[in-house]
Structures are given as structure tokens and as C-alpha cells.
């Protein structure tokens, strides 16, 4: 048994991968275990509804805004109000900022070391500093782009991380003219960076052909919100599922009625639940969410540059869905570009400066569901309250959770392709990690857990005996 510890991991969470071999030494099964539990759903019970947005935002420091906004939507449903139009536009603006900063973090800070330096590069080099030494412009661009996304959040909410700005019924402070102008001034650079990064990816895609083919390329369903007109959506609209042929399996699904069509299976070996599409059963009802899913489900993006990029993306699999999870990276870059175009639209909307940003109401429903698109995919917050507004029960389905089945399938596929003999090589470990990383999973969010984020890979023989083990990070 070998232990190897390398203090670089670049995934947001704490994971364990086990690879099970059969008698002939072939990969029989591979599992991606999430080994921590946090209990957020439990300790929200007994708190007041009005605290829920800021409370659940603490699930994550990368995407607090996603929880903040989704929670505020669930609270709106309990107040039974339609929030003022400017408030919705401001919430959309913040969510776009969140998508830009989170996607930039995923692509530039976490994944670009693999893409630029290669899967077998020296682990001490495979980080953002290594990228900076190799391609200074790209590294600096990534930092600037993420900073712009964070700045949108800061201008609206007063701080970059954990702003308590979205509240039940709207938001608690409008956008100032100075704030809008500050963002508008920086937008052109962000758009330039997004286009450069997209061009870089498209230019170099050929070099990753083998990984594209084996990092989770399989048919599955795809789930996301789409706008009423079928275009890309991140805040409102309804849910749509398409299959690997991009045929619409279900459309116009009311997000609030998710328990009717989404189930959550539990496995004894992971704290992360396994959501599935009920009509197809478990585990056949596997679906993917997030950037790849959103680009597969929508009819069009709805902005000029992103729609041009979407046409090139669709050309990867004409008439079908893009089923290679590696292209989550591609989809992420297209979404950054489209999100920035939508930021531009919102900033030039005069209503964005309106002071009418909050609807006041008491407890008018005892149950409410909030659904929106977090950077990693569809996010559900479901609350039950008593007559006075105390939370009685909480159910959270986190974006990373939806991808649980697909991530398991992905590690199996990678192990089948790159495992030779009984040794966990550096190249295998990196690719397993990279395969998981393509989903940009946030394990701290998904099981609502905190802590360090090491990845452990264990190779098991046909009778469950440990053949090899490797750990990265601490």
C-alpha cells in the first residue's frame, strides 16, 4: 500500500474514489464517495424565515450568492409576493456576477493548470502560479475576470462574500448610479477576456481529444431552467429535461412541484444523495445539470456573441446533445460570455436604478420552493414554516448533488481507460481528479460540509481487499 500526499487539489470538497476490480483485474465499478455531512437542513429548523437567505448563504464561500438568491425566492413564495421588477433585475444582475466569478474560478484557477500544462506535468507546477509562468496573460486575465464578477456582487451587496442583500420580498438596497457606472466601465475588459479564453479553448480542443472522449462521455438526461420562450435562463422560467438526442423529455415543469418528478436516492457509501428523474426510475433517471446541461436544454442563448459560440458548440454533436462532460469547460466559457452580455443589457436598462426593490408581507403560505440556476446547476431550496414564520423543515437539493450519478459514471469511465495493472499512477490520479473537476463540484455545498479537501483514491480487489491507495491534499 502506498500513500502519497501532494498539497494541491483544486476541487471544492472532500472526496474519496474507490475503484473495484474483478477477478481478471478489469474495472468492475468505480465510486465517487462524499464522506462528510454537515446538517444544515437540521439546524435551520427553529430559525426565523427572514434569516434564511443569509443563514443558508453560509453553506458556501464560493457561491454564497446562489444560496442567498435561491433562499430569498423560497421566502418570496412563503410571503406569497411578486417582488418588484427592479428587484428581480437586480437579483439577476447579482446572479450573473456570481456565474462569472465562479466559472472564472473553475476554469482559470482550478482547471487551466491541467489544460495548459498537461495531465502528467509536475504537480508542483500544476497550479495557477505554474500557469502564470507558462502563460502570464491567461493567468492575469483569469484573476481580473473573476474580480469583475466579484465586483458586481460587491457593488450590489456591499461585500464580495456573504452579502446579506437579498431578503424575503426583494433586495434591501438599490443600485446607485455610481455603482452602475463603475461596473459599466470595467465591462469591456471582461468581455475581451471572455472572448480570448473561449478562443483559446476552441483552438486547443484538439489536444484534449482523448480526455474529451473519456471524461464522462455517455448519454444522459439534462435538466435546467429555460425561459418561457425557450432561451437560456438562470433565475426564472420553468424546468426542461432533454435527452442525449436533445429531444425534449419534459417541458414546462413547475419548479415548485419538483417532488413529483425528481427523486432522491440514498446509498450507504456516500453522504451525497443521488437525485434522479422519477419517470425513468433509479438509476436510469440519471441527469446532468450545470453549464453543459443549460446549453443542451436551451433553444438559444439570447445574446449575440454567446449565440455565435453556441452554434459552434452545437456543431460538436450536430442534431444531438453534447454528452462529453469535458465540455463543461467549453459550456462554462460560453456562459461567461453570455452572462457578461446580459450584464451589459441590465446595466443599460434605466429601471435598474429604481428604488422600488422590496415587497413587504407577512406569512401567507406555510410552504415555499425556490429554484434557480447556480453556476453548477439547478438549485432547490424548499422550506416549511409555522404560522408565525419559524422554520419547521428544510430540504435543499444542491447543484452538485444532481450530478452525483454522472460523476460516478465518469470516474468509472476514466478508470477503465487509464488504469493499467494495479497501480494508481500519477496520470490516473490526475485524470480522475480532472474528470470530477470538469463538473466543478462543490462538495462543501452538496453535503453542506466544511473542511479541507483532499482526494483519496482506493483500488479494491474482487473481494474488497485494498490493493493500492493514494491521497492528495490534506
Amino acid at each position: 500500500m502506498r500513500h502519497l500526499r501532494i498539497p494541491v487539489t483544486r476541487i471544492e470538497g472532500h472526496g474519496l474514489i474507490t475503484v473495484q476490480l474483478d477477478e481478471e483485474g478489469r474495472v468492475r465499478e468505480a465510486r465517487f464517495h462524499v464522506t462528510e455531512v454537515r446538517g444544515f437542513e437540521r439546524f435551520c429548523v427553529g430559525r426565523t424565515l427572514w434569516e434564511m437567505p443569509a443563514l443558508t448563504a453560509r453553506i458556501c464561500g464560493i457561491c454564497p450568492v446562489s444560496h442567498l438568491l435561491c433562499s430569498a425566492k423560497a421566502c418570496d413564495a412563503i410571503l406569497a409576493v411578486r417582488i418588484p421588477r427592479p428587484a428581480e433585475k437586480l437579483r439577476r444582475l447579482m446572479n450573473l456576477g456570481q456565474i462569472v466569478q465562479s466559472h472564472a474560478l473553475s476554469f482559470f484557477h482550478l482547471s487551466s493548470p491541467d489544460l495548459l500544462l498537461g495531465w502528467d506535468a509536475d504537480p508542483r507546477q500544476r497550479n495557477l502560479f505554474g500557469v502564470a509562468a507558462f502563460n502570464r496573460k491567461l493567468a492575469l486575465d483569469g484573476i481580473r475576470l473573476r474580480a469583475f464578477g466579484q465586483e458586481i456582487i460587491e457593488v450590489l451587496g456591499g461585500k464580495r462574500i456573504h452579502p446579506a442583500w437579498a431578503v424575503p420580498g426583494g433586495v434591501n438596497q438599490p443600485l446607485t448610479e455610481a455603482g452602475r457606472d463603475r461596473l459599466a466601465a470595467k465591462l469591456p475588459e471582461a468581455l475581451r477576456i471572455a472572448q480570448d479564453a473561449l478562443a483559446y479553448y476552441e483552438e486547443h480542443m484538439g489536444a484534449w481529444a482523448e480526455e474529451i472522449e473519456h471524461f464522462g462521455k455517455f448519454p444522459s438526461l439534462f435538466l435546467s431552467l429555460v425561459a418561457p420562450d425557450g432561451s437560456w435562463e438562470h433565475y426564472g422560467g420553468h424546468l426542461r429535461l432533454v435527452d442525449a438526442q436533445r429531444r425534449i423529455v419534459a417541458d414546462g415543469l413547475d419548479p415548485a412541484r419538483y417532488p413529483e418528478y425528481l427523486g432522491e436516492a440514498v446509498e450507504s457509501w456516500s453522504y451525497l444523495k443521488f437525485p434522479y428523474y422519477k419517470p425513468y426510475g433509479y438509476p436510469e433517471g440519471m441527469y446532468r445539470v450545470g453549464p453543459l446541461a443549460r446549453l443542451n436544454t436551451c433553444d438559444r442563448f439570447g445574446t449575440k456573441l454567446a449565440d455565435e459560440a453556441l452554434a459552434r458548440f452545437r456543431a460538436l454533436a450536430p442534431g444531438q446533445a453534447v454528452t462529453a462532460s469535458f465540455h463543461y469547460h467549453y459550456a462554462r466559457l460560453i456562459e461567461i460570455l453570455g452572462a457578461l452580455e446580459k450584464v451589459q443589457e441590465l446595466l443599460s436598462d434605466p429601471e435598474i436604478l429604481s428604488p422600488r426593490v422590496r415587497a413587504e408581507a407577512g406569512i401567507n403560505e406555510l410552504e415555499g420552493v425556490g429554484v434557480h440556476e447556480a453556476p453548477r446547476g439547478t438549485l432547490f431550496h424548499h422550506y416549511w414554516v409555522d404560522e408565525t414564520g419559524l422554520v419547521r423543515r428544510v430540504n435543499l437539493i444542491i447543484s452538485t448533488g444532481h450530478n452525483n450519478l454522472a460523476m460516478n459514471r465518469t470516474v468509472a469511465q476514466i478508470a477503465q481507460r487509464w488504469l493499467t495493472g494495479r497501480e494508481i499512477t500519477e496520470g490516473l490520479l490526475n485524470r480522475l481528479e480532472g474528470g470530477i473537476r470538469a463538473y466543478d463540484p462543490c462538495l462543501s455545498c452538496s453535503v453542506h460540509a466544511v473542511g479541507q479537501m483532499p482526494l483519496r483514491v482506493v483500488l479494491l480487489g474482487p473481494h474488497g481487499e485494498v490493493l493500492a491507495e493514494r491521497t492528495r491534499g490534506a
Binding site: G46, R47, T48, W50, E51, P53, A54, L55, A57, R58, H162, A164, V167, P168, N172, E360, G362, T388, G389, L390
Partner: protein
Amino acid sequence: MITLTLDGVRVQAQEGETILQAAKRAGIRIPTLCYLEGLSPRGACRLCLVEVRTWGGRLVPACATPVQEGMEVVANSERLRELRRAILEMLFAERNHICAFCVSNGHCELQDLAAELGMDHVRYPYRWLPFSVDLSHAKYGIDHNRCVLCGRCVRACAEVEGAATWGFSGRGIFTLVEADLGEPWGQSKTCTGCGKCVQACPTGALFEKGKATSEQVKRPAILLEITERRPRA
């Protein structure tokens, strides 16, 4: 007039004034929590402890100790800073003061004191006792997790509003501020719904319903304004 020494400075005070009042006039800062101008002093929180040299170094609450001729008082010293910090840490360890999503985050006297006294961590084990939240009142809520038992609400209700709705029940760390005889606040027959208790409360324990995280700003100074405007008998 009485003459006393505060941190080595000779200070004049009126007969019957407290050490805290004399210090305030002399521009000497003594931290307080349960004390609120407009209400009777209680000496409950012990954060205003000062050392009286002329009493053999005895520690007394400045808010509730009258001045004496020739008194020598130490209001700020390393020992007092350490004691005040320890008291503050015990307040934090006793209940569940989680600022991150609190309605009073950023506008909280307890939080401000922690910053002022340099409380960067708590040395005592947190008790994590579960306390309830009562939202039964139409306008206000009470979260016992955030209550420091300073009794400002109890005094504001009895002394300024005259309703005497609030009182203490239980003992020690299990003490609760309760309306009437312990029924839900919303069912209280004596509460007038005036909200003076909410304005007096130094933390997020009492709050206006509908306020989200960080939105609850209190106006404790209104209690003094009301009492000063009131014609005296």
C-alpha cells in the same frame, strides 16, 4: 460637590452620582452593557467593573456605585481589561451568539464590545444549549439564544412604559426573559406592543419581525428622551 480620582485625574461629581456618570463627564470610557441611560442601574453584566483603591482594591460596578469623597478609582488597567474580556467571553459562551445571520449583525452592542475589548476568541467551552425563538407577537420576536439577561427590556417595560410585561423566570444560565407568566409573547395581556423593549435590547434577542439579517437597527437613546420629556412629579 465631591472630589474623587479617576485613573489618576481629579474629578468633581455631584452627591449621589455614580462612578460611571462621573467618568462619562470626565471623558473616561468605561464599557457597559446592562446600563442604559433613562433606566435604573442594575449592575447585572459586570462589564463596567472598576477598582476602588481606597477600598482595598475592591471591584465594583461603576454603573451602580455612588461616588465618595476622596475615592481613588482605577477605570482602565490591564487587570480590568482582562476581567472585562473574560466576562464578555462568558456571555458569548453561555448562549448562541452567531453574528453571521443575526438581524443585529453590524448594529449590536455585544458585537461592538467584543471588538472594543479585543475579544478575538473565546477561551471557555461554548455550552450550545438550545434556546427557543418566539415569533407569536404580531410585530416583534424574541430569540433567547441571543439574550444576555441584561434586563434592559424588563426595566424599560416596567419603568418607562409602565406595563411590567417582562420578567425573569428560572435560575442561573437557564434564566429566561418571559412575558407575563411565561405564555407566548403574542398572548400577553399586559403587553401594549409599544416596542420600547426592542429598542432597549442591546443584541438581536428582541427584534422587529420582517427584519432580515443585519437590518435591525436599535434606538436605545429614545428611552432617555422619553423620560426626560416626561413631567416629573
